[in-house]
Amino acid sequence: MTSQDAVTAQNVVKSFGQGKVAVRALDDVSLSIRKGEFFTLLGPSGCGKTTLLRLIAGFEMPSGGTILLDGQDVTTLPPNRRPVNTVFQSYALFPHLTVRENVGFALKMQGRDRAEVEDRTNRMLALVKMEELADRATAQLSGGQQQRVALARALAPQPKVLLLDEPLSALDLKLRKEMQVELKRLQKETGITFVFVTHDQEEALTMSDRIGVMSAGRLQQVATPREIYTAPINRFVAGFIGETNFLPVTKGADGARLGCGAEVTALGEGPVLTVRPEQVGVVATDQPGAIAATVDTLIYFGTDMHVHLRLSDGAALVARLPLPPGGDPGIAAGDGVGVAFAPGAARLIGD
């Protein structure tokens, strides 16, 4: 609630419908988004990302809880009185207005004088590199161009927070990569707090200062991309971001005891051990601490290969290894090998 935070959600609940058919889209979400950060809400479809964004924008009122912008309670303010703008997934450009008129729309609605509207509109058009197409109708633009106009339109009134609901999902891969860079640049240049929604974990990892991972209406973890990847808090987060191995464990003498009886040291606490495939090493069977395993299959991915392993209790484990320069992996299906986890890479998490 300090004024360091651009957006604060406190115990926000949102239900749609009544009685038996009620859907709880958001379940006790508390969250602080810092000023000037690129914050991403990440989660599978239907987990409540859009709903949270719409509550921040003011299109919906929460069923419970409070929403603060810049330390001020805006829970019941309508969208046109919140210093927040949205880039819609469908862009929602005004079809009867030109590019320039779309970009200047908010300023005009705010009653700014004509010179200011013109000046700011021109600067926004330059910011998104759309000066040349300023007098086009929006229907004559490509998807990527419409995207830029939607961005300029939402940035023109200099909102405290910019909300972006899966803005890149309609673009093809190449354009998407370009726009990811572009969005980062715009955020840096304007210094505006971005709240970005996506279901694409790679997008979230590459773009964000911090990520909030959501599932089934609940906020699971809020952390930097690095933390989210290396120290996921639970099975959902670990599984949703990147590939990983899960092994059930029990408490051992000095560490976690795997199903096969081997003991490993792992950070954290919980009934499940998680370790990323690239942190799993295939070693000689007699190396100290090595866990005995059998090679099931080898799958090649260009420069890498995935080694599917089976521990003595039948638990499955995947290791990702760089292919040796000669191309010969040195192991084959059916081989007995040893498995070792990189130091600090194995973590215990909640289920």
Partner: protein
């Protein structure tokens, strides 16, 4: 020099014209045939018992604006005619305005129902068409007349001491025309609003527009084609209305339609009737041109600096 694709295109163009020729011929004949007859009649001399005498005369056209003094034969501006023209235009504009004011919220309501319900609402809108216009108009008269529904109710509840004269005035004509033409306004408005992308409302609202600004800067400009179509569909038949002013307006509140009928009936002045018909056509055309011009001017650029 002649590429195969050109030959093909020419051939299919020619076939297209040939195929539509009968329809086009029928259209041209049906549209212009009767009109030509009316045009010719307007330049003939009136017969004594109606009908026309085949001799060129401008009397019909002169009679639109002037009347000849019975005694000395001088021409005077015909105030009565001017009143009728003015009343027709005024009532038609008012009818358009009223049907728009009532029709817009109605169309909006229907277009924002779940798709399955829309058909039902549209169906309900068409129910009045099941009954003959004449009968519906008489029914309105029944509601408005001195011993009618409204007056009886008001008298019974003691709100008034004596019945109010609501029938046989311009107000009654207006009520009748607004009632009759309302569906013609609602249907094109509905079609336009149904195509309106409701997400634009949120976008506008998000960009600091108030409710009135959303209406003025987003909704109205985008559904404009529907407004234009509805207004034309209401204004044009209103201008030529005959049944409604005749029944609800009584003899004293004639509109152009009644005036024309009078010339072909009791007035026995076919050339004047024909000239009046042509005048009506001209008024409609000019009004439409004006309207479309005004709309286009307030159009395209209007959203930004208007």
């Amino acid at each position: 020099m002649s590429r195969p694709e050109d030959t093909l295109r020419r051939r299919s163009d020619r076939n297209g014209w040939l195929l539509s020729a009968p329809a086009l011929a029928l259209l041209v004949f049906a549209a212009s045939g009767p009109l030509m007859i009316v045009l010719v009649y307007s330049f003939l001399e009136k017969g004594q018992y109606g009908n026309v005498i085949w001799e060129f005369s401008l009397d019909g056209w002169v009679g639109i604006l002037f009347s000849r003094d019975i005694f000395d034969g001088t021409l005077n501006l015909a105030d009565a005619h001017m009143t009728i023209f003015w009343r027709s235009v005024k009532l038609s504009l008012l009818t358009t305005l009223i049907t728009f004011t009532l029709g817009f919220p109605t169309a909006w309501f229907i277009a924002t129902r779940p798709p399955a319900q829309r058909a039902l609402w549209l169906f309900l809108m068409t129910i009045p068409f099941w009954t003959n216009l004449l009968i519906r108009t008489f029914a309105i008269g029944e509601i408005l007349r001195t011993e009618g529904l409204i007056n009886t109710a008001l008298l019974k509840t003691g709100l008034i001491a004596a019945p109010i004269q609501m029938l046989y005035n311009e107000g009654a004509v207006l009520v009748g025309m607004a009632y009759v033409y309302l569906p013609l306004m609602v249907l094109p408005l509905f079609a336009a609003i149904e195509r309106f992308d409701m997400r634009l409302l949120e976008a506008a609202y998000d960009l600091y527009a108030s409710r009135m600004q959303v209406l003025r800067h987003v909704i109205l400009p985008i559904v404009k084609p529907g407004i234009v179509a509805g207004s034309i569909l209401v204004f044009v038949p209103s201008l030529g209305a005959y049944v409604t002013p005749r029944i609800l307006g009584g003899g004293k509140n004639m509109m152009i339609g009644n005036f024309i009928e009078l010339q072909f009936g009791q007035g026995r002045n076919w050339p004047l009737g024909a000239a009046l018909s042509m005048t009506l056509l001209v008024i409609v055309t000019v009004a439409l041109l004006f309207y479309v011009r005004a709309i286009n001017r307030s159009g395209s650029g209007g959203g930004s600096h208007g």
